[in-house]
């Protein structure tokens, strides 16, 4: 029976009447799996001989990644015009792809940090892979603005380092804020990811039998011994990093939205952009997490650790953030009409019914309408359908960035300088290749690092509770 409050001298009478209705919580780990099972399951992914599917996929990923490097090589040797950038659209696919990839990255931090703060224990099954996804997505994202500067060997001028020109970065520019935001984000995400991995690396180290494994994992595990004095500091640091990552992840996509919103281009300048971009980022990121985790779950038979409850939760988050994005679209439209400003009105009407209306309607149908299917339990339980819907969301979010970036630039104040933007083959190659680049990194991660945070998964099992009976 309930014992409320240790320091309370009198037990409130109402406690006698407390009898909760039966509604058990879904178990986080199915089939009552023990600690050793979890260790075996996760370590086996790293320890087993390289599977054939991995080799094939890795080769394919490398091949696809080469498209990016060919594209970038051509771009560097030719000039940024190779990207189809010309007046009036000076920001083409490069920025679209940048925002797309950075956005995908955000779900990783959301899962690891925000859900940690919200004590959503189900995060433990997916957070490691999601964090890895964050870092690799940011790597892909970083390529685009980096090469967009043109003379990429001078990109270090963006950092506050003394240079022979005697000039300094210009801190009133949102693009400079981006440099700080994205590099901080990358650094902190990597620290967070790595630190969270140390105990698990220790586990793999302790199981290693061959020389190079012992060397590799010993080095990475930093001599972790799992003493509670270490755990105490570790958990505090982990919580603090989660606490720091949360405002960080918000700020990063906020600053990305500032790239657009601090200008006075109609369709870009709207105050809701910061939270709207953040919601969109989380939306696309969760879709990507599901896109990656559903196949991995099937391949490595992780059904007990990543079960319907986890998938349900992720679907619901996609539904919620998709609806928030829809709210933002609606608010933008409403305020454009409410403002009485004819340029604003035109910008939004043109988006929906102008030359890029095809992109706009792809965006709306993929981002707002498709996720509404997640209201239905039947849909959430059909994993192939979930996977397909997530692909739609990924496509939709790419188109969202396309619509925002391109439509506002192609039709601004002066009708005489309106234009129509089309990407070049170099654009397409470069972007296509980033999926390979991302996959290469992600496959390496799957193969060599612990895919699931073993320690954290063990922590949420019922037998980890010292007061369990």
């Amino acid at each position: 029976m309930a014992n409320a409050h240790d320091s309370s001298p009198e037990r409130p009478a109402i406690l006698d009447r407390v009898r909760p209705a039966e509604l058990p919580r879904s178990p986080l780990i199915l089939n009552n799996r023990g600690f050793h099972w979890i260790t075996d399951k996760v370590c086996a992914i790293v320890e087993e001989p390289t599977p054939l599917w991995w080799k094939v996929t890795f080769a394919a990923a490398l091949f696809i990644a080469s498209f990016t490097f060919v594209g970038l090589g051509y771009l560097v040797s030719t000039g940024t015009g190779a990207w189809g950038l010309r007046s009036p659209v000076g920001w083409g696919w490069a920025i679209v792809n940048f925002v797309f990839w950075v956005g995908i990255g955000h779900a990783g931090t959301l899962i690891s940090a925000i859900l940690c703060l919200l004590r959503q224990k189900w995060r433990t099954s997916i957070n490691r892979a999601a964090e890895a996804m964050t870092i690799f997505a940011v790597c892909c994202a970083g390529l685009f603005p980096l090469f967009h500067v043109g003379r990429v060997w001078f990109a270090w001028w963006l950092f506050p380092i003394p240079n022979q020109n005697g000039i300094w970065p210009q801190f009133r520019s949102p693009l400079e804020w981006d440099v700080f935001a994205v590099s901080t984000y990358f650094t902190v995400s990597t620290l967070f990811w790595y630190m969270g991995m140390i105990p698990d690396l220790g586990t793999i180290r302790d199981r290693a039998t061959t020389w190079w494994r012992k060397a590799f994992y010993s080095l990475l595990a930093m001599g972790w011994r799992g003493g509670n004095r270490q755990w105490s500091n570790f958990e505090m640091a982990y919580l603090l990093l989660a606490g720091l990552s949360t405002p960080l992840v918000l700020s990063v996509h906020t600053i990305v939205s500032f790239d657009f919103a601090v200008s006075n281009v109609p369709g870009w300048h709207t105050t809701i952009f910061p939270p709207y971009f953040v919601a969109g980022a989380i939306f696309s990121g969760f879709a990507m997490v599901l896109t990656l985790m559903l196949p991995l779950r099937a391949i490595y038979r992780l059904h007990d650790v990543i079960n319907q409850y986890h998938i349900d939760n992720m679907c619901k988050i996609i539904l919620a953030t998709g609806t928030m994005v829809g709210y933002a679209y609606a608010t933008e439209f409403f305020i454009a009409a409410y403002s009485g400003n004819s340029f604003e009105k035109f910008a939004f009407v043109n988006r929906a019914f102008g030359q890029y209306s095809w992109a706009y309607w792809i965006m709306v149908s993929c981002n707002v309408i498709t996720p509404q299917l997640f209201w239905f339990k039947k849909v959430r339980e059909n994993h192939s359908l979930v996977w397909i819907i997530c692909l739609f969301v990924n496509v939709g979010m790419w188109f969202e960035r396309f619509v925002i970036t391109i439509t506002s630039l192609a039709n601004d104040y002066l009708p005489s300088s309106w234009g129509y933007y089309s990407p070049t083959i170099v654009d397409i190659f470069t972007f296509f290749g980033t999926f390979g680049f991302f996959s290469v990194l992600f496959l390496l991660f799957v193969r060599f690092l612990p895919l699931l945070p073993m320690a954290e998964v063990k922590m949420v099992t019922p037998q980890a509770d010292p007061h369990a009976h």
Partner: protein, 233 residues
């Protein structure tokens, strides 16, 4: 390859993998990295800048024209810079003289000297002498000679003591911070307009230079641009 794999896959030792001394390694590595970082930064700052890479660039010229013999008050001839570079006050671009300018005098002075064979040939055929450009700024920099010269900036500020050079070489770094130094403190560089080509001119004292310069900045409404579009147009 197989041997390497076998070597890597040999059984791991039991117990501690690293020896006790490895515990000190992280500290040592950090110290080494710090030292390396400082050295590399210092080296890059010293050796990878225009100051090191460009200053002293003294290409061979097709004709061994000796500025220290022709130009300046201390030279044998004492020509003014503007005798040859005669558009420097009127044009954004300061011209290299045509062969005609040389031949004004050399038609009388040593016309048949072998050192002047190329000049004579140029005069007779009309083919230009292929002088090698010494002072170069990148294409994306807009530099106007006349506006500087007409506001009291002497040749010497950017080109150094040409009047003392037998073969012309670059003496100043001409990088962006070199430009900005002057644009930020123009009073340190301005001089009376009649002393523009007097490369040896020095104000009576640093204080006098500052006082004069400040006066010139005010009187001539000198307002050197520091914004990007001042030079990158």
């Amino acid at each position: 390859m197989r041997k390497l794999l076998e070597y890597l896959n040999r059984p791991a030792p039991r117990g501690n993998f690293f020896s006790r001394s490895v515990n000190a390694a992280p500290f040592q590595i950090i110290v080494c990295l710090l030292i390396t970082g400082v050295v590399v930064t210092a080296a890059v700052n010293e050796y990878a800048t225009n100051k090191y890479l460009n200053v002293g660039y003294t290409p061979d010229q097709p004709v061994a024209f000796d500025h220290s013999f022709h130009a300046g008050p201390d030279s044998a001839l004492g020509l003014d810079c503007r005798y040859c570079h005669n558009f420097v006050e009127k044009s954004g671009h300061s011209n290299v003289p045509t062969t005609n300018t040389c031949w004004n005098c050399h038609s009388q002075v040593k016309p048949d000297s072998p050192a002047l064979a190329l000049v004579k040939n140029s005069f007779l055929t009309g083919d230009a002498i292929r002088w090698v450009k010494v002072h170069k700024v990148p294409d994306y920099v807009y530099f106007n000679h006349s506006v500087h010269v007409n506001r009291g900036v002497s040749c010497v500020e950017c080109h150094g003591r040409i009047d003392q050079q037998a073969v012309v070489g670059q003496q100043k770094s001409l990088n962006m911070s070199f430009c900005l130094d002057c644009h930020r403190n123009p009073e340190q560089a301005l001089r009376p307009l009649d002393k523009i080509t007097d490369l040896a001119y020095k104000a009576a004292s640093p204080a006098a230079q500052t006082a004069d310069g400040t006066k010139f900045v005010h009187n001539w409404k000198v307002n050197p641009p520091q914004s990007c579009s001042g030079c990158h147009r």
